[in-house]
Symmetry: C2
Subunit: 313 residues, 2 copies
């Protein structure tokens, strides 16, 4: 199992990535070889300093870096020697099984969409987010921004993929899957939600529990919550702001602290053939470790093939 890590991505690159690798390698559960992609001259001294064992890693030199604010497609086209470009090349050519970066999100998305294949039958890949539930549980919301406009068939695919992810990665045996909507009854909503509802009802790979409303997002009413990426992105960013506000106002609450998305590692792109995980720019060592562990778990649990099987039948 070979997991590639962009060492140049994120606000604290490459230091926090190196520290994250050290944490991962010292965990009892480290099963993968890590491919470190980035500027050797910056990485190597840190590998010495943090005493990273050489047999567990490979370093692949990447002379260039795509900055956080560069235009994704332009940067990928012009910076062929960037860590993200090289990462996707390695992934596409089978030299790695998964790729992780906390760098330019747009470039990661464009790379995931165009460098590697989508799973057979997937209309468009999707990105999801963990949503902390007030009773301590954890839900999954998708799409959160990759698909601003959706067809109902896409929402139905998000439900199938989200269900597999919730089962295999979040450990929810029979996840309740619901449609984000403006009312509980069937027939409510915009044209998209109205058209998606009957498809979700017929989807035999999910346990569809109907519509949920904005007030239910943080409550334990559904495990997998599907919506178009416009709605999901606004919900996610609003949830993130709740944490910001609670910090600003010196509220120390265990629940609101769970909205510190820095801790979660990253967001996998679902619906592509291999795990691609996009980290927060402010990812620290723990986030990097968690992203490597997530990629490893996705490979161990064969998440992509399970999604593929359920999407096909």
């Amino acid at each position: 199992m070979i997991i590639g890590l962009d060492m140049m991505g994120g606000d604290y690159a490459p230091l926090e990535a190196v520290k994250g690798i050290a944490l991962y390698l010292s965990s009892s559960n480290n099963q993968a070889t890590i491919v470190l992609i980035g500027q050797q001259e910056k990485i190597n001294p840190l590998l010495e300093e943090y005493k990273i064992p050489k047999d567990k890693i490979q370093v692949v030199h990447a002379a260039e870096v795509i900055d956080m604010h560069e235009h994704p497609t332009k940067a990928l086209k012009e910076k062929k020697q960037s860590s993200i470009s090289i990462g996707f090349y390695q992934l596409a050519t089978g030299k790695m099984d998964a790729f992780i970066s906390a760098g330019n999100t747009g470039a990661m998305l464009v790379g995931a969409l165009f460098s590697i294949k989508a799973l057979e039958g997937v209309i468009r890949p999707t990105i999801s987010t963990i949503i902390p539930k007030v009773n301590g549980k954890t839900g999954l919301l998708l799409d959160v921004g990759l698909n601003a406009d959706c067809k109902p068939e896409q929402l139905n695919q998000f439900a199938t993929m989200g269900t597999v992810y919730a089962q295999t990665i979040l450990g929810i045996e029979n996840p309740r899957t619901a449609l984000m909507n403006v009312g509980e009854e069937e027939g409510k909503g915009n044209i998209l939600a109205q058209a998606a509802y009957p498809m979700l009802k017929e989807n035999k790979h999910i346990h569809f529990t109907g519509n949920i409303e904005g007030r239910d997002v943080l409550m334990d009413k559904a495990d997998v919550m599907v919506c178009d990426g416009f709605t999901g992105n606004i919900v996610l960013k609003m949830a993130e702001s709740i944490y910001e506000i609670s910090k600003q106002r010196n509220i120390s609450d265990e629940y609101f602290n769970r909205f510190n998305f820095e801790n979660y590692g990253g967001t996998p792109v679902l619906g592509v053939a291999k795990p691609v995980i996009i980290g927060h720019g402010i990812s620290g060592a723990t986030a990097f470790m968690n992203m490597i562990l997530l990629a490893q778990k996705m490979l161990e649990k064969d998440v992509m093939n399970k999604m593929s099987a359920n999407l096909a039948s």
Copy 2:
């Protein structure tokens, strides 16, 4: 100035409505005659009990009540003697200048859309909500559910109407109006947002400040925030749930307490010829007083005609 009040609407009808009238009449700012619409036999004893002066009010008997969970159009058709039906009839025939109810929201919306006229040029009326900002200010979000699917022209009208409302009612001199979106740059978003942006930029009746994201809703980044009713409804209900959660978790924070929407009175329907205000089902005396004061202010400030003028030119 004659303001009609549905005495049978809301969870604590008619008691809290009567108490709200008492509060209004004891305020220094009471300028209107209140028309109380509802079951006389229930209202009259309370008017005695709360010593409501007879010269300030009129009682209009309504034998029937539309319950909170009745189907709006069906109920309005079948219950012609209900307080909501009679209220809209009085409003449409010029016997009242404004109508307020904390009853069946759907019936109030259907009534507002079909009993009274939309302002000239308005594609569809809209409902908004107050959004408390973390720095103490107050924003306006619209649409919050009346128009699940919107055309870009509607979003542009929401901006115009929201700007007038923010100026005249919220007292914000030059409100910053922004488009809810998934990114800050022009060109971001779903098809609707992409099409609305250039219209908003050209709109001479607003001070357009560009896109805002989900993280900005609670921050003081824009005063008037426009979006389709699907998105807005989910944002509003999520904001309401923040208050619920802060109560559940025994967090007593001045800011989160401002999300107790019970205190705000009600939501006016914008884009119709006369003020129609829809209250929360759990409205108490203060909310009823606030709704009467809001209707009075909307009439005093001639909000509808100002909107009409800006929409026309």
